[in-house]
């Protein structure tokens, strides 16, 4: 048994997972119109290859990667392009989108499956992952192929699969692990081969015993490690700490700690790409929260507007006050329901009006609970004050740039202060000054 280390700080909010974690993932048919953003990942926006009026097939490349840190985008349906125009996506940014009218025919582009992709060499695997448009599906959306190709001479000791799903409410990864353990294990092996990792570890929090059992059944020599449930253990740096005791250097990358971390959803996508020849055009999305009538998980074609996904979950059971893309700790609030599901949207949460209210903030009483819960070992109360008073040099000295924006400080604050909000502000200002 692997010795599990405690992460610094962390919290255990109410999980709210039971309303969606025990029923199978339902396939959601593609809507009549899909809106496919060309920037669903970290890095540069993909460049459109189609124009208004073009016929496209399901799985066809509609935009190509622009440089190494980018990813191509594929059509989730067969049909006709009706527009290529900027739209607002779930992150709040306005990005170029390809709007496609679904012809309902489900006509696929030619797929090239491979019966035993593990036989392929590393370069071919990385190439196929890049071409399939695979990006980190845990939320950050960093393109997977460059993550699997660290600088020359770097030895990767561990490929770590992230099955923590430590955010409350979300159960998408949970259901995926229960139902698709085989693909996840295959994806892990492929990625380990691609980056030359010596060992594969899969970290899953112990509030998902059925997922752990399902993975272990298929795991073979791969170690599936049960971790105590604690947010934000699914943060890349925190998971490395929990599983290996190593730390990623400040402002550095996981490979500097000899690790590559990938989400279990990403592993599933890798298996689909190499074994079945299918690009990343759908993902699992948890639809839940107090204002959702029938909380559950869906296989959602990329580009499906939020309102269609919510309608499939029975619509709203009460007037929603807030709708969030992703988990409640790090997800972004939406101002309408038009944003499409992208490769990084793991959940759509809707809360009732009362639950959505932002509490009034009161003076900081220096209780230091934010200090106790900070997984980066920062003094959030100091950073908040420095951000608020625009003392950016002090914020920098106190490690603002090491903040992972997990939100534990704001969550725990008894005075209901928006700590993370001001820390983000300080970070943005520091980075803006640096690049000047």
């Amino acid at each position: 048994m692997r010795r599990v280390r405690a992460i610094f700080g962390g919290i255990h909010p109410k999980e709210h997972k039971t309303s969606s974690n025990s029923t199978p993932i339902q396939a959601l048919p593609a809507p009549a119109v899909v809106v496919v953003p060309l920037l669903q990942h970290a890095g540069r926006q993909a460049e459109a290859l189609v124009a208004k009026g073009d016929e496209v097939l399901k799985g066809q490349v509609i935009a190509e990667a622009d440089g190494k840190i980018s990813a191509p985008v594929h059509s989730p349906v067969s049909g006709t392009v009706t527009a290529v125009e900027p739209r607002t996506i779930a992150s709040g940014r306005s990005v170029m989108c390809v709007v496609i009218e679904n012809d309902g025919q489900d006509r696929w582009v030619e797929r090239k499956p491979h019966p035993d992709p593990v036989q392929l060499d590393a370069e071919t695997i990385v190439q196929a992952i890049a071409e399939a448009g695979i990006v980190g599906m845990g939320g950050a959306g960093f393109p997977t192929a460059p993550k699997l190709t660290p600088p020359k001479g770097v030895i990767i000791d561990y490929l770590i699969l992230n099955g923590c799903e430590c955010e409350p409410y979300l159960t998408a990864d949970h259901r995926l692990m229960v139902e698709h353990a085989e693909e996840i294990i295959l994806g892990a092996k492929l990625m380990a081969k691609a980056c030359g990792a010596r060992k594969i570890l899969i970290g899953v929090e112990d509030n998902k015993p059925d997922a752990i059992a399902a993975l272990r059944e298929k795991a073979g020599s791969i170690e599936v490690v049960a971790l105590p449930t604690r947010y934000p253990q699914g943060g890349e740096k925190q998971l490395i700490q929990a599983l290996t005791g190593r730390e990623v250097p400040s402002r550095g990358l996981p490979f500097q700690a000899g690790c590559v971390v990938q989400n279990v959803g990403t592993a599933w996508a890798v298996a689909k790409a190499l074994r079945d020849g299918e690009p990343l055009i759908s993902r699992v999305v948890t639809v839940t929260g107090s204002a959702i009538a029938e909380p559950q998980n869906f296989w959602v074609p990329i580009g499906t507007p939020f309102k269609d996904v919510i309608a499939a979950a029975g619509g709203f059971s009460q007037t929603p006050g807030k709708v969030v893309a992703g988990g409640p700790m790090m997800g972004g609030a939406q101002f309408n329901l038009d944003a499409p599901v992208t490769k990084v949207v793991s959940g759509i949460l809707a809360f009732g009006v009362d639950e959505s209210k932002t509490p009034d903030s009161q003076p900081c009483i220096k209780c230091a609970r934010c200090v106790d819960v900070c997984p980066a070992n920062l003094l959030p109360l100091k950073l908040e004050a420095y951000g608020m008073n625009e003392q950016f040099d002090n914020a920098r000295e106190y490690g603002a740039l090491d903040c992972i924006e997990c939100g534990c400080c704001t969550y725990i604050c008894p005075s209901k202060r928006p700590l993370l909000h001001y820390i983000r502000f300080a970070k943005a200002e520091i980075i803006a000054r640096e690049t000047h």
């Binding site: 740096k237 250097p249 550095g252 709708v323 972004g332 230091a368 969550y411």
Partner: protein, 306 residues
């Protein structure tokens, strides 16, 4: 679905249920055994002083906030705590007007001039007590025995030889209202620790330091722990969140520093007791302790394997 009014706010979108008011309430509950002991031992004098000091503190806070045209926040309970703490740290014979003045001073000069809750560098109740001690030295040291209110010396003034440990533990000795019963203080302290509103490091740091210091000086450590206001100060005054360090290491140093200063004043100083000044002095260095004892940030000082 199209005409929804959705709130857009930064993450996180869920919050813990604990609030400042709940923390203050837990401290007030923690003070209950001490208040009960004070009333048991000193009867109507305790009731009189506690009511007046509490009312004065809350009224001063409300009047100040009114004059400054700020929202009136007496409901958060912090002014009430200051009032109760001050009331518990004066002798039972103190004239009423003095405790009213002391409590008003604690809130006005100890807290509100700095900007109110959370901004004061010094424990307001101790600022009030220091003010009273400096202004009315005789009244603040006019001790009486419990129950019958006849003039008596405190254990610290009499010395270890004539003090009975059980009396010190249960509290039937002369002293400030809330400081005589170690049992009541410990009960309140355990409750507050259980509710997560005080950090054990500060009282343990003070207690351990007083013990070691007393042993090295050839004095009775049990006597030094139980006599005077060490326990009350360690559990209720030094643990004030606003004026104590936010780091773990800082809290240890804070506690040890208070312990050392208490013993230096007791053994070689001009006052028989030094808790007030010990805590206030360490309050003053709290910002420095926070700066010097920052925890190692994740990933800093880690060797990079290129």
């Amino acid at each position: 679905m199209d005409d929804l009014k959705l709130l857009v706010s930064p993450s996180p979108h869920v919050r813990d249920t604990d609030t400042t008011e709940k923390i203050m309430f837990a401290v007030l509950i923690g003070l209950l055994p001490v208040v009960a002991a004070a009333i048991y031992f000193f009867r109507w004098d305790a009731v009189r002083l506690l009511l007046l000091s509490s009312a004065s503190a809350v009224a001063t806070e409300a009047i100040w906030q009114r004059l400054r045209k700020k929202p009136i926040r007496i409901g958060d309970g912090s002014a009430l705590i200051t009032g109760v703490l001050l009331g518990l740290s004066v002798p039972p014979t103190l004239p009423s007007w003095m405790v009213i003045l002391g409590s008003a001073f604690a809130i006005a000069i100890g807290k509100q001039v700095f900007g109110g809750l959370g901004h004061n560098p010094f424990n307001p109740a101790l600022v009030g007590r220091a003010f009273l001690t400096a202004s009315f030295g005789r009244a603040m040291t006019a001790w009486t025995a419990p129950f019958d209110a006849v003039t008596a010396a405190t254990p610290l003034a009499m010395g270890a030889a004539v003090s009975r440990i059980p009396d010190l533990f249960f509290g039937s000795v002369a002293g400030s209202l809330g400081e005589t019963s170690a049992l009541a203080i410990l009960l309140g302290g355990i409750y507050m620790f259980y509710k997560g509103v005080i950090d054990y490091r500060i009282p343990v740091g003070i207690g351990a330091t007083v013990t070691v210091f007393a042993l090295l000086a050839g004095e009775d450590p049990i006597f030094h722990l139980l006599a005077g206001s060490v326990l009350f100060g360690a559990v209720f005054m030094a643990t004030d969140m606003v004026t104590s360090p936010v780091t773990k290491v800082g809290r240890w140093i804070f506690g040890v520093g208070i312990g050392v200063i208490i013993m230096v004043i007791r053994l070689w100083g001009g006052y028989p007791e030094g808790v007030t000044f010990a805590v206030l002095l360490m309050n003053a260095v709290t910002p420095l302790l926070n700066r010097w004892t920052r925890p190692r940030i994740y990933g800093q000082g880690v060797k990079v394997s290129e």
